[in-house]
């Protein structure tokens, strides 16, 4: 009985051992399969991880490069800001200059317009010249009248001398007076001629002087007109620049 029991136990032990071996083998197979599965699952993950790490490294490098670029751009920005500020200051100065130039241009235009009033001065000189020449002409006429009187006096004194001669000794004194009158008339005639010459010289001098003033006035007026046109163009250019 005990043999049977021992045999049974031995058989059972052998079965159990076989079963254990089988179980263990199954476990090992499962573990190997699981390991294989785990390995299969882990490899892509590791690859992905490596890729991500590489990508991360690339990104970090890119970031570093961008950081450097950003710093460069910040430096450029600072520089540009300084230039812009300088330009702003220049622009502001330029605008001020334009405003000043415009103001100056307006002032020049106003002054030029005001100086056109010189035409009235020239007109006044013209009137005075006409008046002077008219006075000269009146003096010419008076001198001619005087010359005519003097010629008449000469004739009268000649007649007086003749009559004195006819009267003989009684007319001797009268003859002396007549001769004196004739001498005075001759001097008056010479004086009248000299006076006439002076008047002609005066006419010439007055005309030359007046014409120089008149022509000079026209020259000034023409020059002012040119300046006025230039001032107008300058003002327009300043206005365009300011707009």
């Amino acid at each position: 009985m005990s043999e049977y029991l021992i045999g049974a136990l031995l058989g059972a032990g052998i079965v159990a051992m076989l079963a254990w071996f089988a179980w263990r083998r199954e476990v090992q197979r499962t573990a190997a399969r699981m390991q294989a599965m785990q390995d299969d699952a882990l490899t892509p993950l590791q690859q992905a991880n490596a890729e991500l790490r590489a990508e991360l490294d690339g990104c970090q490098q890119d970031m570093a490069a961008l950081q450097v670029e950003l710093q460069g751009l910040e430096a450029v920005l600072t520089e540009q800001s300084a230039v812009l500020a300088s330009r702003d200051a220049e622009l502001s100065g330029s605008r001020q200059q334009q405003a000043d130039a415009l103001q100056q241009a307006r002032r020049i235009a106003e002054e030029t317009a005001r100086l056109r009033g010189l035409a009235h001065t020239f007109e006044r000189w013209h009137e005075q010249m006409i008046s002077l020449m008219a006075r000269n002409q009146a003096m010419h006429e008076q001198n001619m009248e005087l010359a005519s009187i003097v010629r008449h006096v000469v004739i009268v004194s000649l007649n007086a001398s003749i009559e004195a001669a006819r009267a003989g000794a009684a007319g001797r004194g009268f003859g002396v007076v007549a001769s004196e009158v004739r001498a005075l008339a001759a001097r008056s005639e010479a004086l009248s001629k000299s006076y006439g010459d002076s008047l002609h010289l005066s006419d010439l001098t007055t005309t030359a002087t007046f014409q120089d003033i008149q022509a000079g006035g026209k020259m000034v007026t023409a020059s002012l007109a040119s300046v006025a046109i230039l001032a107008e163009r300058f003002e327009e250019a300043c206005q365009c620049a300011a707009a």
């Binding site: 002609h200 010439l204 030359a208 014409q211 022509a215 000079g216 026209k218 020259m219």
Partner: protein, 186 residues
């Protein structure tokens, strides 16, 4: 006298400009025109003579032109064929045109110029021109052979007064605009 301030070329040029103006404005119908330089104008003045005086002024110098028109029948017929009463007005306008032509040519060399209106003087005034002390003076006799066969004489005197040196060359003749130099009232 500052005659030395006017160069020989400038003197010649002023005379050339004057002669061109005379031929352009005083010759009315293309008659032959002789212009002769004379030293001193000593001929007798008659009461009918009309002397037209004009001035061109610049900043540095002035130029005076005296045109002596004789009041004889030939001159009156030539310059004022309509009526004798128009003779004075006619020669005034001719003098103005002549001086205008000079002004037109000179303005090409001297930009700032102004011209006076013409003024009539007695012929005796010409005897006193030297008393104005011109720095340069030139006298010419202009003889126009009018169609009637009678010669028309015009005396031309040019005077220059300057405070600055003058030198220019008149160059070739330029076409004169007909609108310039017309009688202008001040």
């Amino acid at each position: 006298m500052r005659g030395g301030m006017i160069s020989a070329a400038a003197r010649q040029s002023f005379e050339t400009v004057l002669q061109r103006a005379v031929r352009a404005r005083l010759v009315l119908s293309g008659e032959p025109c002789a212009i002769t330089r004379v030293d001193v104008r000593a001929d007798e003045v008659t009461p009918d003579d009309v002397v037209v005086a004009l001035t061109i002024s610049s900043m540095g110098f002035r130029y005076m032109l005296f045109l002596r028109f004789r009041g004889d029948a030939a001159s009156v017929r030539y310059f004022a064929p309509g009526a004798a009463g128009d003779f004075r007005d006619a020669v005034l306008e001719l003098g103005n045109l002549c001086c205008g032509a000079i002004n037109q040519e000179l303005v090409g060399h001297f930009p700032d110029l102004g011209m006076s209106t013409p003024y009539v003087l007695d012929g005796h005034c010409l005897h006193h021109v030297d008393s104005l002390k011109p720095d340069y003076r030139a006298d010419f006799d202009v003889t126009l052979d009018a169609a009637s066969g009678e010669a028309v004489l015009v005396g031309v005197t040019m005077c220059l007064f300057t405070r600055v040196p003058i030198d220019f060359h008149a160059g070739h003749e330029v076409e004169m605009a007909t609108s310039d130099g017309e009688l202008e009232l001040f």
